[in-house]
């Protein structure tokens, strides 16, 4: 189908975006990479009064290390994050996750901010941001506020972002030296949205994992930080025992919804499978992830 008629503004600076959002409220839609909004327009599931193109706003596509934090501008593309040496060095979890997002042509335009604002439960960036304890910066004519990724995602495609606000950047603390990561995802085909996936971080001390953080995608209405499961994985015993404990705890924290191809029970099973793969990778019991 073809997009319905709408008005269009190419914004030159953030204050102009704020003014339009204040004036038009819910009928205005921000256009970033367009890789989710354009399909919605073409299928006419959304009909904005005015579309505000923010892709040419200056200074919103940076990826920088400042005072122990990585600042990622909302307009940084999936491709730019995947190719960034700063990300590879300091946030390798994101570098690994980028390769799972859609396909090269889509990664060239889709943005970090757009993915977070959309809050698809099967998307990679929201789960990574929860695992990494990212802070999202929301800007409006009233100023800026910061919100933790955990509090930002509130439900299915629902976030703390208000209609007068723009997600301008994300601030991610660089994990402590020695932090290990694993990003494991199952999809029907390369580039499809995940059936289920996990972003995992931990530190390893004398062969033990500590500060384990497991954030799941495709396992609920929002990214799920599985805190009890992380605690249940206690390596005082053997790896196998600890893994079994973690896997059985998982059911109390994940509530995956069935989709066209997978029942909720299948998804939970698959979540257990990728949990094992992630934990093996973290403790470096080198196991190929196939």
């Amino acid at each position: 189908m073809k997009a319905p008629p709408f008005a269009y503004v190419r914004a030159r600076e953030l204050p102009a975006v704020f003014a339009l959002l204040d004036r038009h409220g819910d009928t205005a839609r921000i256009l970033a990479g367009g890789q989710s909004l354009m399909p919605m327009l073409n299928m006419r599931v959304t009909q904005p009064g005015v579309t505000i193109d923010i892709t040419r706003l200056p200074g919103l596509a940076g990826i920088e290390l400042k005072n122990g934090n990585i600042h990622i501008g909302a307009l940084a593309t999936h491709a730019a994050i995947g190719a960034s040496p700063v990300i590879r060095q300091h946030l390798p979890l994101l570098a690994d996750a980028a390769a799972h997002i859609a396909h090269p042509a889509i990664r060239n335009r889709g943005t970090f901010g757009g993915s977070l604002a959309l809050a698809d439960p099967a998307a990679e960036w929201p789960a990574c941001c929860v695992a990494l304890d990212a802070q999202l910066v929301l800007a409006s004519s009233a100023g800026t506020r910061r919100i933790a990724a955990r509090d930002f995602f509130q439900g299915l495609y629902t976030t703390a972002l208000q209609s007068h606000e723009v997600l301008s950047e994300v601030v991610i603390p660089v994990p402590a030296a020695g932090t290990r990561h694993a990003f494991i995802e199952l999809a029907r085909r390369r580039g499809d949205y995940a059936i289920v996936g996990v972003a995992a971080l931990a530190r390893s001390q004398q062969g033990k994992l500590c500060q384990l953080r497991l954030a799941y995608l495709g396992a609920g209405e929002t990214p799920v930080l599985a805190e009890k499961t992380s605690q249940a994985f206690d390596l005082i015993d053997t790896f196998e025992k600890a893994l079994t404990q973690a896997q059985s705890t998982l059911a109390s924290e994940l509530a995956p919804a069935a989709d066209l191809y997978h029942s909720a029970a299948t998804k939970l099973h698959l979540a257990r499978v990728i949990t094992a793969r992630a934990l093996k990778q973290l403790v470096q019991l080198a196991q190929p992830a196939a």
Binding site: A7, Y8, V50, H103, A105, G191
Partner: protein
Amino acid sequence: MDTELDVSFTVNGETLTRRIAVRQNLVDFLREELGLTGTHVGCEHGACGACTVRIDGEIVRGCLLLAVQADGRRVETIEGVSQSGEIADLQDAFHKRNALQCGFCTPAMLLTAQDLMQKNPNASREEIREHLSGNYCRCTGYQAIIDAVQSTLAARSPRGVSQS
């Protein structure tokens, strides 16, 4: 706030200035206003990849970009890339290896494969598959397409050796 906009950009090296309805996507503009029908339209929601074009040298989905967003940019389509001879060897390999049947997916396959070959001249078979994963082909079963890309890569490599 506009529903039509005056924009100017280059298509296959030629500068054009037009007034374009903002809701028109780039692939519809190329096909319907410029008659460049080599870029195809399949799904119109980003799934099939048939609408692939290059903007400032990078491949994008033509159905997921408004034509007015090309303002000031360099747009290249299969017609331009074909006529310049840039992918003549790849086209030849597609022909020789039966990498197309109905041809619907072919222009986008060629542009996507060329993108990979420029970025990763040593791409493995697995990497070729991965790079082409966003392009549907309903005829060939993909093997012949991968073969054609792989043999072109080998022929382009200075050593002329397959890297798989």
